[in-house]
Symmetry: C2
Subunit: 192 residues, 2 copies
């Protein structure tokens, strides 16, 4: 359910109800009728290559502290998804990227997130750990720490990258990552 117990505009109580003309419950202020919409968040990140190796970051924050991930984070207001992905690379790996292009879109409906992942080149092969990162590393396909990756979406992005590199396909990958309690993860690849 919603975290909105109070109106963020006037501070009075908010109650769950279906607004007129709508079809699902929202947190609506009992005093000023303001409707608090809650929508999915975008996570933007990059898969960067340098001489056949891929940049990974070891997480220094929860969740999944100590596990390896691709540099990625929540998209911010006022930026494009590509600019946000480049910003995350700067923040997490103190690195710059060149020739970024859209690589994959993943729906994670259970946690209401959409991942927009970009592919590009790590500038000069240079990266160091940012504030939320314990270490950075460049890994060839056989050296990727597959058992110590932070999230299924990271595993899927890397898997798809190496598959498609072999197949020489450039189509944007679009897939759902479906998790249901007590069931194995289901990855539905729609295209790419």
């Amino acid at each position: 359910m919603s975290e909105h117990k109070f109106c963020h505009r006037c501070g009075n109580s908010a109650e769950q109800k279906i607004p007129a003309g709508d079809n699902r419950p929202r947190a609506v202020c009992v005093a000023c009728d303001y409707i608090h919409y809650e929508n999915p968040k975008n996570v933007v990140g990059c898969l960067l290559e340098w001489h056949g190796k891929v940049l990974l970051c070891k997480r220094e924050i929860e969740p999944r502290r100590g596990y390896w991930t691709l540099p990625a984070g929540f998209m911010e207001n006022g930026e494009t998804s590509l600019d946000g992905a480049a910003r995350e690379v700067r923040e997490e790996a103190c690195a710059e990227c060149d020739n970024l292009r859209l690589f994959a879109i993943y729906n994670l409906p259970r946690i209401s997130q959409v991942y927009l992942m970009f592919f590009g080149r790590l500038r000069n092969g240079e990266a160091t750990a940012g504030e939320e990162t314990e270490a950075v590393g460049l890994f060839s396909q056989q050296d990727i720490p597959w058992d110590d990756l932070a999230f299924p979406v990271v595993t899927e992005t890397l898997t798809r990258f190496f598959e498609r590199k072999q197949e020489r396909i450039r189509e944007v990958h679009y897939a759902d990552i479906i998790s249901r309690p007590g069931e194995p993860l289901d990855i539905v690849r729609h295209s790419g």
Copy 2:
């Protein structure tokens, strides 16, 4: 600036400040320290074809009431972007779609929105006006009401669709739609 004047968790005042470890101002509760993040929203929609014609909806709501648009709306929590796009078609045009595939991604950083547009086939060629729609219509390229389209992102989606149909290209289109006060609209096509 943020609309968050009050904490939606405890109802106390929220103030704009940069949280520890962060690099931009957020609305932070003065009592419980809850941080209210505000992030871009996704708009999901469809370009549906039926025997060479495209489905458009005439808006019955503001903004741009009376202008023509593609069926689209805000993505909701708990759904995939593709399912959300199909839901919007159902709500706005009482129609079903087949063979949906990702067609284009547009960044609209000034209003902090990302459009995810899908292409597919209008099932049985059937559509009628939904609650927020005054009328629906099927238009061939030469009959599209180009001067009466609701938003630049609709114009760009339709333009790109007809260009690419001619070129027989299926690559996902990725572009920024940049508007600055007092300047002409700038559409930056990255790929596709």
